[in-house]
């Protein structure tokens, strides 16, 4: 009797067909059966991504967000994606008024209380506590002739806001799937029902004994408000068109170009934002509610490339946006993923963003001058630069599970786009920087 160990593999590759034929045959037998198990465990062929994120601005808003997304791929490559997001927001955000050498008092939007802002501080409204729930569903499926079709819907609700959206997208692969052209349409309807109602634009905020009461809401409760209202709620409609080209350059490189056009129509004001009206000495005389145009059209151009090096991936993108409010913005975003041993990776991230101000942006109004048709002191419509630096660490946990940690620092520098600061305003910082930290833990299984 002899025991024979097989020799090392022969260098005979033309007889290897059996192995690959057998692999194909086995795939059919054991692969499809794997999906039969879905009958016993309905979640077995779902893939889940979950994340917890904390965003915290120094002295301002803090937000916590939980995301759970599930993806199921069906037999014919149809993909169903469901996602639920919960956000909780606390803290204070700038109400648009300018800082003063004295204490300022504001009425809360519901008219029920006052809040005071210390001298020489940027006025922040700290009465906001909000929770938002979002849910979305997306269905994607291949069609004949290399077409892929996708349709989806989303829903978002917070106490004063409701958003409903629907979208559809069609893509076609050419050139052995090295080129993909896509076109998409998205529609959204948003309704805002601010606390205390919709202010009559550019009318003053009311104080203490001026607060209006005596109207009644749907449940018969008494409405109070810190403003002259013109409605309980208002809404806006958004149409987005998206055109894309994705091109595989070679085995290592892929590029993508998108153009999108977006048109929004309706109530575009931030119902809580104010403008200070100052006198020649820079002292605030009153606060007016802002007013923005009733429509906005945006064009955005986006280019992205991903390059696979031997042990790393560079993901670089640039976006240019321009709109008929004359905001122009540039975004540069770089991710560099470096693979460490055993599928662990570390990914530094840097992002730079700059925008010019909307043509109706002004940090305050001056007494005696003509009240413009449109005005807003919302710093988000002003000149600003922001940058983000961060790092992410990801690690596999086996059996297709993985975990990742992300830590980022965000810095925002609003800038003066040429407004002089008369009198006491010269001493005030109207363009206060914002620093924020973002921490996220994500888990996929």
């Amino acid at each position: 009797m002899q025991l024979i160990q097989s020799p090392m593999p022969a260098q005979n590759s033309n007889k290897k067909a059996l192995k690959s034929l057998l692999t194909t045959a086995t795939c059919a037998l054991l692969g499809v059966n794997a999906s039969v198990e879905a009958n016993t465990n309905p979640l077995a062929d779902w893939k889940f991504d979950t994340a917890l994120m904390v965003y915290s601005e120094v002295n301002r808003v803090s937000a916590a967000e939980a995301i759970i997304a599930g993806t199921k791929t069906f037999k014919n490559d149809e993909i169903l994606n469901l996602k639920v997001t919960l956000d909780a927001l606390t803290g204070a955000s700038a109400n648009g008024a300018v800082g003063q050498p004295n204490v300022q008092t504001f009425t809360s939007p519901s008219g029920g209380s006052n809040y005071r802002v210390d001298a020489n501080k940027t006025p922040l409204d700290d009465t906001f506590k909000d929770t938002r729930a979002q849910a979305s569903a997306q269905w994607t499926q291949p069609l004949a002739n290399n077409y892929t079709w996708s349709v989806g819907g989303n829903f978002s609700k917070e106490f004063d806001y409701l958003s409903l959206g629907a979208n559809t997208n069609i893509a076609k692969d050419f050139n052995k799937k090295n080129t993909t052209l896509s076109a998409g349409l998205a529609l959204a309807y948003d309704q805002i029902k601010p606390s205390g109602g919709i202010a009559d634009p550019l009318t003053p905020m009311l104080f203490g004994n001026e607060v209006i009461s005596g109207t009644y809401d749907d449940e018969g409760g008494e409405n109070r408000s810190n403003k002259v209202t013109i409605a309980n709620s208002d809404n806006k409609n958004t149409v987005d068109l998206l055109f894309g080209l994705t091109q595989v350059i070679n085995r290592r490189m892929i590029v993508q170009f998108n153009y999108s056009f977006s048109h929004i129509n309706g109530y575009l004001n931030d119902p809580y934002k104010l403008l200070s009206v100052i006198n020649n000495n820079g002292l605030t005389q009153q606060y007016l509610y802002e007013n923005r145009p009733g429509s906005r059209s945006k064009h955005a151009f986006f280019a992205q490339t991903k390059y696979h090096f031997a042990h790393s991936i560079l993901d670089a993108s640039y976006r240019y946006m321009t709109d008929d409010w004359h905001i122009h913005s540039h975004t540069v975003d770089l991710h560099y993923r470096m693979n460490l041993s055993q599928d662990n990776y570390i990914e530094p991230h840097i992002r730079y963003y700059t925008q010019t101000a909307a043509d109706f942006y002004q940090p305050f109004l001056q007494e005696g001058s003509t009240v413009p048709e449109f005005a807003s002191a919302d710093y988000r419509l002003g000149d600003m630069d922001t940058y983000t630096v961060g790092i992410k660490y990801g690690m596999p946990l086996g059996s297709g599970k993985s975990m990742a940690f992300r830590l980022e620092y965000y810095h925002q520098t609003p800038k003066n786009s040429g407004f002089s600061q008369p009198g006491v305003l010269a001493e005030q910082n109207l363009y206060e920087n914002i620093d924020a930290v973002i921490a996220q833990v994500s888990y996929s299984f």
Partner: protein, 305 residues
């Protein structure tokens, strides 16, 4: 009879240094599941899943059980029988094996057992006996669709060369859906592991001794980190007449034993059912069994007497 059979269906759990050894009896073989965990309940749960799957496949595809799918297909040979998707996939795999082996691997060859009794005696069937059976053999005479299977009256199929290996793969799949602890499954010498084990914080291959029932003095030691091995051959099954040895490996085209195959051959492959098919196909090459696998760059261990 049924009651005593049910009573045998239990899983015995024994602790071992690195975890637990769980054993049960299925498909006429002793079966083992080795789970490297300190969690006894997990080990028991996984072994229960493996055993339940083995018993399910045994009940569904045993040719010895008249009520099994296999038993019914044989009983109703000549009729067009409706089949479920799992049965279709197994028969489709058998069809692929038939094609890949140029007709040598044929699950309809079992009827030759009516002529050949490999009991160590010198009873060789006559050519007439064999000629009577040959028309009942031939996968190409069957018709398979996703919903139905039809073979000629008198034909038989059996999953003897695939069923146990399929059970190993299925059981390991089920276990992998539940856990990522290292597990080894051994159903009567056909085995598979899901990953390397951790010993003192270091990854280590599973050391598997493959006993050949007929060679008590020889154990093939195989090191496995992932994948499967299966063994074909049984040296006790032969006939000896006029100094000539007849192996139990039959060529379905002639109905006669293959000349000079290894006594047993163990083959490694990613999936157990692949290893099982390759081991059987290698034996069918007779003298050239080892060369056949070497040419295909397939790792194997052969025993010759």
């Amino acid at each position: 009879m049924t009651l005593s059979k049910k009573a045998e269906r239990k899983v015995i759990c024994q602790p071992r240094e690195s975890g637990f050894l769980l054993s049960f009896y299925a498909m006429a073989s002793p079966c083992e599941v080795l789970v490297d965990t300190k969690d006894k309940r997990l080990a028991q749960k996984l072994a229960e899943m493996a055993a339940t799957e083995a018993w399910r496949i045994e009940d569904k595809y045993s040719r010895y059980q008249q009520n099994s799918v296999c038993g019914q297909l044989n009983l109703r040979a000549g009729e067009c029988c409706s089949i479920d998707s799992e049965t279709y996939l197994l028969l489709k795999f058998a069809n692929d094996c038939f094609q890949m082996s140029d007709g040598l691997f044929d699950i309809t060859s079992g009827v030759l057992r009516k002529a050949w009794h490999f009991d160590g005696s010198d009873t060789i069937p006559s050519q007439t006996q064999i000629d009577q059976l040959l028309p009942l053999i031939g996968w190409q005479k069957t018709q398979l669709s996703e919903q139905s299977f039809l073979m000629q009256k008198g034909m038989e199929i059996d999953f003897g060369g695939l069923g146990k290996e399929y059970a190993v793969d299925r059981a390991l799949q089920l276990i992998n859906n539940q856990t990522d602890v290292p597990v080894l499954i051994n159903f009567g010498g056909d085995l598979a592991v899901n990953k390397e084990r951790m010993v003192n914080g270091k990854a280590q291959a599973w050391q598997v001794g493959i006993d050949h029932p007929s060679f008590y003095d020889k154990t093939v030691i195989v090191e496995m980190t992932a994948g499967a091995v299966a063994t074909s051959g049984d040296a006790n099954r032969f006939l000896l007449k006029d100094g000539q040895r007849y192996s139990h490996i039959l060529n379905v085209k002639t109905g006669w034993p293959v000349e000079n195959p290894p006594s047993a051959i163990t083959v490694a492959a990613p999936q157990c059912i692949q290893a099982g098919f390759l081991a059987t196909l290698a034996l069918l090459q007779g003298e050239n069994a080892e060369q056949f696998l070497t040419d295909q760059e397939i790792k194997h261990w052969a025993i010759r007497e």
